[in-house]
């Protein structure tokens, strides 16, 4: 079809996933992987970029094992990585509730929730490891919610019919990250991890086909340096900020991943983005980010809109029979707890039909009146107090008295750098963990699974699999004078010189905002062939304009936040185009990717397993991307059309 946008390349296979019964594969792989003698580990240097759950846990664990670790983050402290903002919880197949949960059920739910676009082997491993994560975090002193008997509390979360989510009030990500942060700081004190805060990776260094280092900029002094190692781990998070407005932190960016992509690493399934149904709607043009209201609110809140279009009465004045509880109506089995992609699209449908509430009609009610009546205000306060307070601070409205207004917003990106079962990219020595890789969530991530995956990758998977690669090391020594190192550094110097020397007249943010609007409009909750083609043209035009007109003040040798943003937006512009090409080529609907042309009669997403049961792994090409397909096989969970009715 659209060969004017991309070329087809060779198929790609995940060569590392063992065959055999699914519940034995991880053990098999661990046994077949080579080990590194403890005495040799200290001769091996590993760079870890990022200090979120996937980065801090990996850096700390590799340090504990005795490797020499260099860890980087752009924040002023490693404790501030965006994992900290995850609210709801973390899944684990402990079956502490005796409600029928098991490793197999978590595996099944995750494969199904991902709309059959993830690898069975990976997901099963994730489900197996989930229980170890909880043990590990408890041992670190993570203050999970507990019951009066002193045992851990669980709740049901995000479309699951069992209670397998462990949580720490509405701040689970914070507490898990602080656990990993403290483990990391312990290794810093022990001298095994060399931690560099306020440093940003701007280029990947490849020597003789292997990832051997990175180019970083000290964000305070502007000093550019090259850091060399035997392996590089990217734990650099997701790329949701390509939409400008998202629930991501302001600094979240794709630069590390995109630089690796430009150097040959495949980028997989970039169009799979998760739009979270329960965010606070945009209030105006000044808006810089969107705030998530934890999905746990849907456990007790009821979602509705007025039946009458454009009804601007106070919600309390709208009688019951004039309200449309559209999730309960359309999905009686799951009701308000349908998965995120379904809840988001349903909100878009009612708002597009003119039933939306609040500014611009872009909002639906999330109502706690029934829960307050049933449980009492005190119980609701104990469960959600901090979230209600946050809502009131942002909107100025009291959600105890007036239903919350919510609207979907970009929250998570399932796509990312392609990795095999060992979390290795197709560049030897380059590993990718957490949200930065594409591996476990398929086309849609279930609630409370991101924290699980980040920690699974960082604490348990990577430290086991990377040894198989490092067993061949230490690799041939390279220093700063090596031509590949000099060339990588020059690329960074040139880019910075370009931005600072450009005689432009438009701010970086103005370009970012415009890119975000294009992405949200054409590559957001609903995508069409026509819209995506239009978006690609618009993005190309915007990119040209960016390089002609962008204005960056100041100099390199200082803290220069505009310069930081300019580099990130430049990479987002290229990523945005690839996302649209990926979305255009995938003419089916699946998970977070909804193609208007591919829907059932009642408006549900319609997959096309015949044509699209594969991972789309894109190779960078100067004259357009090259598509490598990795076929997905389902031996244990038979693909069915998802139904939450």
């Amino acid at each position: 079809m659209s060969t004017d946008y991309y070329r087809d390349g060779e198929a790609v296979a995940d060569a590392k996933a063992p065959a055999g019964p699914i519940n034995e594969r991880w053990e098999k792989r661990r046994f077949s992987g080579r080990l590194v003698n403890p005495a040799n580990r200290r001769k091996l240097r590993v760079i870890v970029v990022g200090t979120g759950l996937a980065g801090a846990s990996a850096a700390a664990t590799l340090g504990e094992l005795g490797y020499r670790v260099a860890n980087y983050c752009f924040q002023d402290s490693s404790r501030r990585a965006h994992s900290i903002a995850a609210q709801g919880g973390i899944n684990a197949a402990k079956n502490y509730r005796n409600d029928g949960d098991s490793v197999h059920r978590l595996f099944y739910d995750t494969v199904k929730g991902g709309d059959f676009r993830s690898r069975e082997s990976n997901v099963h491993r994730l489900a197996e490891i989930s229980t170890e994560i909880i043990d590990q975090c408890v041992a670190q002193g993570v203050p999970f919610a507990r019951e009066y008997g002193g045992l851990l509390d669980n709740r049901s979360f995000g479309g699951a019919q069992v209670s397998r989510t462990f949580y720490a009030r509405g701040q689970t990500g914070q507490q898990l990250l602080l656990g990993a942060y403290q483990a990391l700081q312990r290794q810093v004190a022990a001298g095994t991890v060399d931690l560099h805060t306020r440093h940003e990776m701007l280029e990947l260094i490849i020597v003789d086909g292997k990832a051997r280092g990175i180019v970083v900029r000290d964000l305070v002094t502007g000093a550019i340096s090259t850091e060399l190692a035997d392996a590089v781990v990217l734990a650099t998070g997701g790329y949701g900020n390509v939409y400008f407005l998202s629930t991501n932190a302001m600094g979240c960016n794709v630069t590390a991943g995109w630089r690796a992509h430009r150097k040959g690493a495949y980028f997989a399934n970039p169009c799979y983005t998760q739009i979270h149904p329960t965010c606070i709607p945009q209030s105006g043009e000044h808006q810089s980010k969107l705030t998530l209201m934890s999905e746990s609110l849907r456990n007790d809140g009821r979602v509705w809109v007025p039946k009458q279009k454009g009804d601007d009465r106070h919600p309390a004045d709208i009688p019951e029979d004039e309200r449309d509880y559209y999730l309960e109506r359309r999905y009686p089995a799951f009701g308000n707890l349908v998965p995120r992609d379904i809840a988001s699209r349903a909100a878009k449908v009612v708002c597009d039909e003119g039933h939306g509430v609040g500014p611009g009609g872009l909002g639906v009610y999330l109502d706690f009146a029934a829960a307050i009546e049933r449980l009492g205000r005190k119980a609701v306060e104990a469960k959600y107090g901090n979230l209600f307070d946050m809502y009131e601070r942002i909107t100025g409205e009291n959600p105890y008295e007036r239903p919350m207004r919510i609207y979907p917003a970009v929250h998570y990106t399932m796509g990312g750098l392609w990795v095999d079962y060992d979390l290795s990219s197709n560049i030897p020595g380059l590993f990718v963990t957490g949200e930065a890789n594409f591996s476990d969530h398929g086309a849609n991530r279930l609630g409370a699974s991101a924290l699980m995956q980040g920690l699974s990758d960082g604490y348990f998977v990577l430290p086991n699999t990377i040894s198989d690669y490092l067993a061949d090391g230490p690799f041939e020594a390279v220093d700063e004078t090596h031509e590949a190192v000099v060339a990588a550094r020059k690329e960074v110097d040139d880019r910075i010189a370009f931005f600072l020397g450009n005689d432009g007249d438009r701010t970086v943010d103005s370009f970012h905002r415009e890119l975000g609007r294009i992405m949200w409009e054409y590559c957001g909750m609903e995508r069409t062939d026509e819209g995506l083609r239009k978006a690609i043209g618009l993005i190309r035009g915007l990119k040209d304009e960016f390089y002609r007109r962008v204005k960056v003040t100041g100099k390199n040798e200082q803290l220069n936040q505009e310069l930081e943003k300019a580099g990130r937006v430049a990479d987002f512009l290229e990523l945005g185009e690839l996302m649209c090409i990926d979305a255009l080529h995938r003419t089916e609907s699946c998970g977070g990717h909804f193609r208007a042309e591919s829907q059932t009669e009642d408006g549900e997403a319609k997959r096309d397993d015949e044509q699209f049961s594969y991972v789309a792994a894109w190779e960078f090409g100067e004259d357009g991307p090259v598509l490598h397909k990795e076929a997905l096989e389902f031996e244990y969970v038979k693909p069915t059309q998802r139904s939450y009715k």
């Binding site: 903002a85 507990r146 100025g396 803290l559």
Partner: protein, 248 residues
């Protein structure tokens, strides 16, 4: 809204800083405080001026990056609210607002409103953890923890490490921050084996970083966006005394 801002400008750590006045118009009252600064910065860049540097990231009150003293108060006038969550509806049309960085000896200014808070990380490195290498953990249900202890530990663990407590303290003390961590880990059974070495190590690192001592002024707890109470300093002192006696 129309506002008169006076903002601390300082080009780098060595430079002499000063307050600079800016007038800003058409600020939406639904904008957050940092969004108001974004609008100002867009204008400054268009005029070819260096925008105001400030730390921020999540903008939802949890990462602890944002750090402004607004009209003399760390994180501004609204209780239990970080700067990023403060909205302009809390101000009036025509207001004058002073914006300064955290002021504390242990937090040197890097540029404008950005300060160096790495001393907090060094305090944690000195003992603010439980030694539990990956893979060594027993089953999570092996040790029950009374709910009230777990809840109290959580409340202390809610600290976001922003440093407002230090900025608010006339002595520039980091004891609320340190007390929160000592309290969190001290309430967990897993935290007991290292309880004494932890507090001794952290206090030594705190003092070495140049933070002052506590004189029970209470400004720290009043400024804390996570409402961490003064009682954690009491717990810190109690643990410290016990540990010091045992070590003597």
């Amino acid at each position: 809204m129309k506002l008169s801002l006076r903002i601390w400008r300082q080009s780098d750590a060595q430079a002499q800083g000063k307050m600079v006045s800016y007038e800003i118009d058409e600020v939406s009252e639904d904008a957050s405080f940092l969004e108001m600064l974004d609008v100002l910065n867009e204008r400054l860049i268009s005029e070819g001026e260096d925008p105001v540097a400030f730390d921020h990231d999540c903008r939802e009150g949890i990462c602890g990056a944002c750090s402004l003293v607004i009209d003399g108060q760390p994180h501004g006038p609204q209780a239990a609210t970080t700067t990023c969550q403060l909205h302009m509806r809390k101000f009036k049309d025509g207001d004058s607002i002073d914006i300064e960085p955290w002021r504390a000896g242990a937090f040197p200014v890097i540029k404008d409103l950005v300060v160096d808070r790495s001393a907090f990380d060094r305090i944690i490195q000195a003992g603010g953890y439980i030694s539990a290498p990956t893979g060594t953990a027993p089953d999570a249900h092996a040790v029950p923890i009374p709910k009230q202890d777990a809840d109290a530990a959580f409340s202390a663990a809610a600290c976001i490490g922003c440093g407002a407590c230090v900025a608010a303290c006339p002595n520039g003390s980091g004891m609320l921050f340190m007390g929160a961590k000592v309290t969190h880990l001290g309430l967990m059974p897993q935290g007991q084996p290292e309880r004494h070495t932890r507090v001794l190590g952290m206090v030594a690192a705190h003092d070495e970083a140049g933070f002052g001592g506590c004189t029970n002024t209470g400004e720290c707890a009043a400024a804390c966006p996570k409402e961490i109470g003064l009682d954690v300093i009491g717990k810190l002192n109690r643990d410290f005394r016990k540990a010091a006696i045992r070590a003597a």
